[in-house]
């Protein structure tokens, strides 16, 4: 650590600006490109009259931004509403990540039956290789290689709040789904709620105008959970018996998402989930009964991607909060 340079601290002795740290600065708002995926309002491939299979719905909105100098973008979502969003991933769409003039794509997942894009998607970047201040007034600090760490005229990132956040471990509003035997053969009646509208953890935030709040919160946690009903029967003919087995299997995969609720004095970040993929798997088999008995056989439908679990939940991830009103597009 340098024995010279600039440190500015606030009344709580927290370091606010340091010539040892290279800050991010506001580059601009990302451009909306398209909504790549929409739907998932019910479980695909499943229908049984009288047995609803609703899901919470999700949409993936794709945005792009050009970074001139090889920095990676730091992305903030300003919802402007109470919908739940998460930054699914960022990737170099055109050019190399190390630049120059790399076009980055940002996929944002939104929970909901209706597609509603966030009000703004703000992008920040580091001033790698930039050694000249933007203006000839204001405050600038530099790191030892001469590149700018903080430039007041380039709208440096000011983080108003940061919280360790995580959604509940089990995403389903119906709780942890189970698997058990003892059901009737060919029982395909769905009896679990796979929606995730109300399964959230709440985190109070500092007071800000709720319309101006923006957060960066990666959709890092993933979860897959399933409900299985194993059915059985034994039927006998004149001379022999047949055993029959069935498995009805519903599954849903989720990604973590976040939303802002409340007014200025009651501002809250809620960490929850959005469905990402889902399916229905049915399997049955019955043995041949020989003379006078029926024939054997079986069939399957669908496939779960991987075993039930929640990953990337621990340790908690950090959500950062800014006042988007300070960064003019």
């Amino acid at each position: 650590m340098d024995a010279l340079g600039l440190d500015i601290r606030n009344g709580d002795n927290h370091v606010m600006i340091s010539s040892n740290a290279q800050s991010f600065h506001y580059l601009g708002d990302a451009d909306f490109d398209r909504t790549a995926i929409s739907g998932l309002t019910d479980i695909p491939d499943y229908y049984l009259a009288g047995y609803a299979d609703p899901l919470s719905g999700r949409h993936v909105h794709v945005y792009t931004i050009t970074i001139p100098n090889g920095s990676d973008p730091l992305v903030f979502i300003q919802p402007g509403n109470e919908n739940s969003y998460g930054i699914l991933r960022k990737y170099a769409l055109q050019g190399l990540p190390e630049g120059p003039n790399t076009v980055w794509a940002i996929d944002i997942i939104q929970r909901g039956l209706t597609s509603v894009r966030p009000k703004r998607v703000l992008c920040f970047y580091q001033l790698k290789g930039i050694t000249t201040p933007k203006e000839d007034y204001g405050m600038v600090t530099k790191i030892v290689d001469g590149s700018i760490a903080f430039d007041a005229s380039r709208n440096p990132l000011a983080i108003r709040d940061a919280k360790l956040v995580r959604p509940p471990a089990i995403p389903c509003d119906g709780g942890l789904p189970t698997s058990e035997r003892g059901w009737a053969f060919r029982d395909k009646k769905l009896d679990h709620d796979f929606r995730c509208d109300t399964t959230e953890n709440a985190y109070p935030l500092v007071a800000l105008d709720s319309n101006d709040v923006a957060f960066t919160a990666p959709a890092l946690a993933q979860a897959v959970y399933s409900r299985r009903k194993y059915g059985y029967k034994k039927s006998c003919g004149t001379y022999s018996c047949q055993e029959h087995w069935s498995t009805a299997h519903w599954w849903c995969m989720y990604q973590s998402t976040y939303r802002i609720t409340g007014t200025s004095s009651t501002l809250t970040l809620k960490a929850g989930w959005a469905p990402y993929d889902a399916g229905y798997h049915y399997w049955e088999k019955y043995e041949s009964g020989g003379i006078g008995g029926g024939g054997g056989g079986g069939y399957t439908v669908g496939e779960q991607p991987y075993a039930d679990k929640t990953i990337n939940l621990y340790p908690s991830n950090t959500a950062m909060i800014i006042d988007a009103g300070a960064y003019l597009a």
Binding site: M1, K90, D161, N317, L328
Partner: protein, 95 residues
Amino acid sequence: MSTHGVQLRNEAGEVFFDTNFTTWNFLDYRVVGADESVSWEIPGAALMDEVMIQRSFLDVPLGDQESYVCKVGWVDTTFTASNGKVPTAVFVLGR
């Protein structure tokens, strides 16, 4: 609210940085590759009473796959990241 400290304003004259409000400082940014174990120094962490980490997916293919991100730990100014199966962007904050 303090009558001393630093305030910075944007072109519209609006205060965007105020030592009365801004709480967290950016310390470091690093990309940890898939299946990579790394250790690095952040000297500025020595100035901080608290440190926070944010991880995010970087260039991860979408789909039904188990995308394990790396875990990040630290002691004093030495940070380590490991056990990730996908590229992870790591942000380090302090105050």
